[in-house]
Symmetry: none
Subunit: 251 residues, 2 copies
């Protein structure tokens, strides 16, 4: 039987594959911390939990995990401080780090990312969303360490420095546009519905009109195309938006 039409599936959850990675969750809110632990363990990870910044310090000097999930708001040593110290220390410098931030902490997030977070999730978030990011980060990080820079064609998005460059020139945009671009570039080619974008960029339970996404996409486009440059964002009528995966080939 020759080639049939076949469907290529991603398996539901792929708990296997890499040997169980160890994840450190630094989160003071007990319910959230447990929620994360259960789900991470359900996916086969080993989880360490600490509630305070100073505990985290100690734990990190004992065991080096494969990935860290860090809440920005922490009693004791702040998340920002943890992040900074992690990056300062040789042994933890390259650890994949996901920050949990509440909406409205944009400026804080900037500082956090500037200090080296690899990814961030807006609270409240959906568990599947976070899990996806954990897997993505673990998959990605290993080889040449996560540079923290997404690029395609003449476009570069630097998460560490919260900067976007087009053809060398720096491009200015608001936090929302930045996160939007970040998200789209994270999965080039993939079409996201407006609702999905609201979930992951604005945060689950953000009660915002879907049309608002259009406006921000528009602002993003305007920011990205100062001249007569090609638009890297593809509109899919009736479906949503996507970062054009053929973008770097063309430009």
């Amino acid at each position: 039987m020759a080639k049939d039409i076949q469907e290529v599936n991603e398996s539901r959850a792929n708990p296997t594959r890499a040997a169980a990675a160890r994840i450190l969750v630094i989160e003071d809110e007990a319910a959230l911390s447990m929620l994360l632990a259960y789900n991470l363990e359900a996916e086969g990870f080993t989880v360490d939990r600490v509630e305070r910044g100073d505990e985290a310090e100690i734990r990190l000097s004992e065991t080096i995990p494969d990935l860290v999930i860090l809440d920005w708001m922490l009693p004791g040593v702040s998340g920002l401080e943890i992040c900074r110290r992690m990056r300062a220390r040789e042994t933890t410098r390259n650890l994949p780090l996901i920050m949990l931030t509440a909406r409205g902490e944009e400026s804080e997030r900037v500082r956090g990312l500037a200090l080296g977070a690899d990814d961030y999730v807006v609270k409240p978030f959906s568990v599947p969303e976070l899990m996806a990011r954990v897997h993505a980060l673990l998959r990605r990080a290993r080889p040449g360490r996560s540079s923290g820079v997404l690029s395609a064609g003449d476009l570069d998005l630097d998460r560490q420095n919260w900067r976007v460059r087009r053809a060398g020139r720096e491009v200015h945009m608001g936090p929302t546009e930045f996160r939007l671009l970040d998200h789209l570039m994270g999965k080039p080619g993939r079409v996201f519905s407006r609702a999905q974008l609201l979930d992951s960029v604005w945060g689950i339970s953000a009660e915002i009109d879907e049309r608002t996404v259009d406006v921000h996409i528009g602002r993003l486009r305007k920011a990205l195309s100062k001249g007569a440059e090609k638009d890297p964002i593809r509109t899919v009528r009736g479906a949503g938006y996507a970062f054009d995966e053929t973008f770097d080939l063309i430009s």
Copy 2:
């Protein structure tokens, strides 16, 4: 727990053309069950309620819902068991599942539970919070269902990227033609009557002339055959249309 019945913003509730999703609530505590049903119905969902684990089994073998909300503490068959069986059965394997767990249950048993739940909420929870998760989960692309690539011969349909390529070249078509092709390619060779296509591509409640299908088939054909390429769609006089299962062998 907070049992005040609250309304939840419906802004981006169910703007989808697809008929309202059906949700199965498995919860023995009547008050909570009703609270959920009330709020879910207020958002336009169809709600099935059962109180016991064994009832759930039966219900699931009769009607497959689009999402399941399952309480951990159940009389009869436990929530864990329900969950496990759902995942074991082919028809329910990919069903989005939200677990309700109480704070005190966050022990060993619950961990196993997480093995298959897509998301869960710790009681007491706020209704809007749960609603947000329900929506988020329904929106979430189910790996294996709405994603993947269908291909046949020189034709590729990429659901994630929402793209169709013929002999490498991108082919443009409207959303309806896309869905139509998607549906036909899903069951190569199978003949669908116009009525069936209207149901699955346009939606159950579509009061549309059957002849309209012809027109869209025509548009689809035109889009797919820029040159003198073979037509992948077979017309079955008096019956309907089908994707030609011999297509890839010939082309």
